[in-house]
Symmetry: C2
Subunit: 436 residues, 2 copies
């Protein structure tokens, strides 16, 4: 188990490494003892039939912007033992997954003993297999009733989330290695940058259709937020994070708690680049929050080249994901360096990967992004773990299941049997050796 004390000690030791040696030394390929090598999933993306969640409703009203519905996802609700077996067989020592609030609290104030038992069994199952459980208390999806009361804009939303975290902690907190409250709460800031303009109108229509179906004024979800609602949602989430962190710490003061950033490697492409202003806009308020946490978690998939007036196109050539976007392996280290610099906190990479039908790209990404990461660590950035997204192909928001998936393993669409891809072997070999 990672506890807060060893985490802080590790950070201090790493921070003691001189940031700039007089002469470049050859890179030590070995990672610190206890470094977390993991793979990640998220409830709605793998469990399947998450019918009581806000997203399920969004996916199944007309009009919808969600693309193919999540449906069965990859049936992890029933096959979580197979998931853990897979993670163990790959050679990992950590597994990141999330609790489905919609299952644990299916109606306001109705807590499910069965579902608390369910997630505790996953934590226990991790421990039995030598996997450190990295638990996200809320990975985007909220209960349908929560969205129907206005989601994070409701005045009581932070308290409701904290109460949920309290109940979960009392039941299963003892086994958790790392706790994360929210997943990418800053995502809404990035959406207008990466989605086409018509996306936002479609989103508003989708939310309105869900509100009609639920017979409420406003149906608000956490991962797709129209810009006009971002300030209120952010205020609610920041307070929710703080209350949740306090609730978790009240049960386990030793447990490291944080949240995860959607964080690009933001590069200044010109002297008069707007990069620093954009960083403030995309991360600023949440960086303030992370400074209060035990670690800063980042989830990186790309770099952004900022010019004076906006994002510049990526250079031609190079790797591309299934959507045609650049895949730039050093972006991971770039984001890690910034996150530490901006917060002073040790870093955990809780997502990094590539959506592609070509697993050789994933192999290249792993092989080419980890040396720069190790170099950043050698340069003094304390990094506590690398958790790849994702353990297996799963439901990708807006893109359905299968095509362009992110998995270290594929999943049979009928039996849901998991099968490791070559990239799993590559990451597993590094994990087992704890060395590049």
């Amino acid at each position: 188990m990672i506890d807060r004390r060893s985490m802080l000690a590790g950070a201090a030791a790493l921070a003691a490494t001189p940031a700039f040696a007089a002469k470049p030394k050859p890179l030590d390929p070995t990672f610190p003892k206890g470094f977390l090598w993991g793979a990640a999933t998220a409830g709605h993306q793998v469990e399947g039939n998450n019918t009581n969640s806000d997203q399920w409703l969004l996916e199944n009203v007309t009009p919808t912007i969600t693309g193919a519905p999540s449906g069965d996802a990859v049936n992890s609700f029933e096959m979580w033992r197979e998931d853990l077996d897979l993670a163990q067989s790959i050679g990992l020592n950590a597994y990141r997954f999330s609790l489905e609030w919609a299952r644990i609290e299916p109606e306001p104030g109705m807590f499910s003993q069965a579902m608390l038992n369910h997630y505790k069994a996953i934590i226990d199952g991790c421990r039995v297999r030598g996997l450190a459980p990295v638990v996200t208390f809320n990975h985007y999806t909220t209960p349908r009733w929560f969205a129907a009361m206005g989601g994070w804009t409701h005045a009581q939303a932070p308290e409701l989330f904290a109460k949920f975290c309290d109940r979960a902690m009392r039941h299963m907190g003892a086994g958790i290695a790392v706790a994360m409250t929210l997943n990418e709460p800053n995502l809404a800031r990035l959406l207008p940058l990466v989605m086409p303009p018509q996306f936002l109108d479609g989103l508003r229509a989708n939310l309105a259709a869900a509100a009609r179906a639920a017979n409420v004024q406003r149906f608000m979800v956490a991962n797709t937020v129209p810009p006009e609602d971002v300030p209120a949602v952010t205020t609610g989430m920041i307070r929710g994070h703080r209350l949740a962190r306090a609730a978790i710490k009240a049960i386990r003061p030793d447990l490291p708690v944080g949240f995860s950033f959607a964080m690009a490697d933001d590069q200044a492409a010109t002297k008069d680049s707007m990069r620093d202003a954009m960083r403030q806009k995309l991360y600023g308020d949440w960086l303030d929050v992370a400074r209060e946490d035990d670690f800063v978690a980042i989830q990186n998939y790309e770099r952004i080249l900022w010019g004076p007036k906006g994002r510049l196109p990526a250079p031609e050539g190079g790797m591309r994901n299934f959507r045609g976007a650049e895949v730039y392996p050093p972006s991971l280290a770039g984001a890690v360096r910034y996150a530490h610099e901006a917060t002073g906190k040790p870093v955990i990479i809780t997502e990094h990967g590539v959506g592609t039908d070509d697993d050789t790209l994933r192999v290249r990404l792993i092989r080419e992004s980890l040396p720069p990461l190790r170099q950043a660590m050698a340069d003094g950035v304390p990094v506590l773990g690398y958790i790849h997204w994702s353990l297996m192909d799963n439901y990708e928001w807006g893109a359905g299941i299968g095509h362009g998936a992110f998995g270290l393993a594929s999943v049979d669409p009928v039996t849901f049997a998991r099968k490791a891809k070559p990239s799993a072997g590559v990451l597993g070999a590094i994990a087992k050796a704890n060395s590049l």
Copy 2:
């Protein structure tokens, strides 16, 4: 596996037994070879967190008449293996359970491969344990979307149900021993007799609240139907049963198919009793349907003493269930005799039991109801099986979980561990001996 041919042969052999011997012979305590000894459950009452079902919504709106919500029920969705182990350990050779339509078809036309796999695994699990799977395709609860379109009053309801049965049969039909389409479709006729008058006004308010929550004109469920809707619901269900039977037979012509009656032992307490008229009212149209089926299934919990103008009170004394109603062991044989007489079909008892906190009552009921049943068989009534309600304590409609439960086993409210009661031993000994 029971197939239709052996069932008919068995019925013929039993029918050849002289109905009235010149002199009463001592009762042969042995049951026919292949007699089914089982215990029953129903999806919504045991699985838990059936949030996408019509009943869940009824339970969680205001006002509600459903009493305590089903919540976790007894977590059989996750613990079905334990349920099968329990049935096997008791010594039974049959297990009756139901498919949850709301899980298999969570949205209209969206069939869940994972949930089809789930229920097929239960059927396979029965076979491995020597349990004949007696499968109810629909035990009251329907998907929320089905209720929101008016349930069985919708013109397309029968076709939708038949389509669901077709998909289920294609996936798991090969392993089923006995198929039942609907559970107690005549229940709505009995409700006004057994519920207080204010129940119906409460029901109407409950349905209206659910309609508001779902933003639809009418929310109609199958097990609690206001009298004004019973004719339309019955018409839809009869057509639904016939289409479903055809869909099942199209895949497995050999599979015995029927539905189950809520059937009292209706006794004429006076010469001018209205008993026969009431039988016609409570069962008449469905008896016509049963005559087309392979068997008639009955679910018996009581006798009704009919006077000239209505129901007469039960005699004082005797056994009482947790609600204070008479428990009359010979009622089982009485209902069985009538069901056979009225249809000419072999009989399966698919429910019989008692809600009580005193397991000695259950022991008495089993011990005192089976000899009259065996006598009815000796008198020429072909009976193919006795399936007790219920395998374990579970969610009882309108009464919550626990108090006054019907189980042969109790269930721990925290771990959901099942523990056989003495009554399970009594029924199991009879089952294993296949003899009284």
